[in-house]
């Protein structure tokens, strides 16, 4: 069982470099967009880009894409927990 389980999935050097380039482009994009005044939407765009960047890091650099379902499920649980915590706190602070 150990042998099959511990099989490494090889990702090509090219993939890593492509991901890195996309991350740099997204960084440029988020800096550029921050200069444009969009009022409330600025923060949403910034967070959206950051979320996109972090999913690239998670999926490729951290190999989450190639791990089994357990890792995906665990990660979603954490994401969900944070969302719940922030949302329920907002129920208080935004309504106060």
């Amino acid at each position: 069982m150990e042998h099959h389980d511990n099989q490494q999935h090889l990702i090509s050097y090219g993939t890593y470099i492509t991901v890195w380039l996309s991350l740099l482009i997204l960084t440029g994009l988020t800096v550029a967009v921050a200069g444009v005044h969009l009022g409330k939407y600025n923060v949403f765009i910034a967070l959206l880009v950051a979320a996109f960047k972090s999913s690239l890091v998670l999926l490729y650099f951290m190999h989450l894409r190639y791990e089994n379902r357990l890792f995906h499920a665990m990660f979603l649980v954490v994401l969900f927990t944070i969302t719940v915590i922030v949302a329920l706190t907002y129920v208080d602070t935004l309504a106060r």
Binding site: L70, V77, T81, I85, L88, T89, V91, D92, A95, R96
Partner: protein, 557 residues
């Protein structure tokens, strides 16, 4: 296999030689069984210390007016009682003791997934505890914030709060490492054939608890670090005089500390779910429902923290939402209670000592749980908040729940852990004293609270005097019960008869290894091909032997 063990019984883990001499064979051991026992003696010492504080609190409140202590000392007493009991006894509690000793054996594993990390968590607990105790004597006065360390008083008081919260932070780190270890153990080290739905319910409850430990503890970790930063680095995120919002401290604190009450009680429910079928000789009713209810309690436990803050100035919307969500916790809890009682139905119940503790758990925890629903009701809580009703409620859940289950677990697994048996008649008497004393101590506090007796008050109006008087008398009975129980267990440990491998006729894997278990738990890796609470083999064996007391027969051989 059985022949091989009969020929040469493997040495128990006590007798196995260690690389270190004396006490170091324990405090440097990475064996899960030794670590489990280390935890047991550590947290029980903290319990006895916390219990003495509780005894003094009750003594002070026996009559109205000051009796023995200054008001400031009284504030320190309830703070230390709370901090020691919560952070050093109840939160490490069952997972650290039985999660370590029993869980790997129940899963058919040799050890937990990361044995060295496991030892590190014990050390972190001990160091954290030392830091907490040191904080008592290094400030200009004893800590007097209550166990919740509320802002902004936590930065204003001259007691050494930063040190105390740093100790609590270390203890939290220990809890995280324990949780991480158990989740990995459950996922990776189950024996062949031990599917998730063949795990004993105790293992399920430890698994659910471990998730809370992972996901909630870091939040309190950062909160406590922020308290230290506020004091020393001049930042002001909670202190209103420095532009912070003290309610945010309460939010962050309860985001951890509400789920933490399920860290306390879920493993307790796991123990009860293991004890009841063993003494009914009947598969547990609604296995999957109990397993899933553990997971859903862990989940819903995250959504309800705001009910600790109903009177603290939260938005009305939040108060209503949190009150509404709180009611949902009662559902999975009730599922468990109904399933336990349904298991009792038509079971061949043996009222042995562990079973008495398990049954009284159901009774006491139901009272604690139902009063919890009362407190979760927004309009009622406005009346009852910060009264002794709350004190009675959480003592019924934490002591009546966690405490009785822990003691039940100790009585249940004592023969497995030590290979000795305690005197059961005395154990039952101790239970009776404890049960009567417990109800006498805490039930009057419900009544006093309903009439408006505030909690954490040094003095009170004469109309509350009878409640406090009887409560204090009750505390004496309870404490004598506890001391009698420990005395009996200690006597069993030193002088007790040799225990059988399976004295209760339990069906889970830990009863299939010798008592006490050898260093290597299983000489051959076990293969599981039946449900955890399948007693058919045990009953068959029992029916075929003419005398039910084969314990005595074995002793004679």
């Amino acid at each position: 296999m059985s022949q091989a063990t009969a020929q040469n019984i493997p040495l128990s883990f006590y007798e196995e030689k260690s690389a270190y001499p004396g006490i170091f064979a324990w405090i440097f051991s990475t064996d899960h069984k030794r670590i489990g026992l280390l935890y047991m003696f550590t947290i029980l010492s903290f319990f006895l210390f916390g219990m003495s504080m509780g005894f003094l609190i009750r003594l002070e409140k026996m009559f109205p007016g000051g009796q023995f202590f200054q008001p400031a000392t009284y504030n320190a007493l309830f703070t230390i009682h709370g901090v020691v009991m919560i952070f050093l006894f109840v939160i490490p509690g069952i997972p650290a003791v039985f999660g370590n000793f029993i869980l790997p054996i129940q899963l058919g594993a040799e050890d937990v997934a990361f044995p060295r990390l496991n030892l590190l968590s014990w050390w972190l607990l001990v160091i954290g505890a030392l830091v907490i105790f040191l904080s008592l004597f290094t400030g200009s006065k004893l800590p007097d914030t209550g166990w919740t360390f509320y802002a902004p008083y936590n930065t204003i008081t001259t007691a050494n709060i930063p040190m105390a919260v740093f100790g609590a932070f270390l203890v939290g780190f220990s809890s995280i490492l324990t949780g991480l270890n158990f989740i990995t153990t459950v996922h990776r080290l189950r024996a062949k054939g031990m599917t998730f739905f063949r795990m004993p319910l105790f293992a399920w409850s430890i698994y659910a608890t471990a998730w809370i430990q992972i996901l909630a503890t870091p939040v309190v970790g950062i909160t406590l670090l922020l308290v230290i930063a506020e004091r020393f680095l001049g930042v002001g995120v909670f202190n209103p005089s420095k532009s912070g919002d003290p309610l945010m401290y309460q939010h962050l604190f309860w985001i951890y500390s509400h789920p933490a009450v399920y860290i306390m009680v879920l493993p307790a429910m796991g123990i009860v779910s293991d004890i009841i079928p063993t003494f009914c000789k009947k598969p547990i009713f609604g296995y999957k429902a109990i397993a899933f209810s553990s997971m859903s309690i862990a989940f819903i436990g995250y959504l309800v923290w705001g009910h600790h803050m109903f009177t603290s100035g939260m938005a009305d919307l939040a108060r209503v939402v949190f009150s509404f969500l709180t009611f949902f916790v009662a559902v999975p809890t009730a599922i468990k209670i109904f399933n336990w009682t349904a298991t009792l139905y038509k079971g061949s119940i043996e009222l042995r000592a562990p079973m008495l503790f398990a049954l009284s758990f159901i009774f006491l925890f139901s009272i604690g749980g139902l009063t919890g629903v009362m407190l979760g009701t927004l309009n009622l809580d406005l009346h009852l908040h910060d009264t002794s009703f709350v004190v009675a409620h959480f003592h019924y859940t934490i002591f009546g729940g966690f405490g009785f289950a822990l003691f039940g677990g100790i009585h249940y697994w004592f023969p497995k852990m030590f290979g000795k048996m305690y005197n059961e008649t005395r154990a039952k008497w101790a239970w009776l004293l404890l049960f009567i004393g417990f109800n006498m101590t805490y039930f009057p506090l419900f009544l006093a609270g309903l009439e408006g007796m505030p909690r954490r008050y040094y003095d009170y109006l004469p109309k509350f005097a009878p409640y406090h008087f009887w409560s204090t008398i009750g505390s004496w009975i309870m404490i004598s019960g506890i001391l009698f129980m420990f005395g009996n267990l200690l006597h069993g440990l030193l002088r007790g008869e040799k225990a059988d491998d399976n004295p209760w006729g339990g069906s889970t894997l830990e009863w299939q290894v010798p008592s006490p278990p050898p260093l290597v738990n299983f000489t051959t890796p076990p293969v599981v091909n039946k449900d955890p609470y399948d007693f058919s083999d045990i009953l068959k064996k029992r029916n075929s032997s003419p005398t039910p007391q084969d314990q005595e027969d074995k002793g004679g051989q």
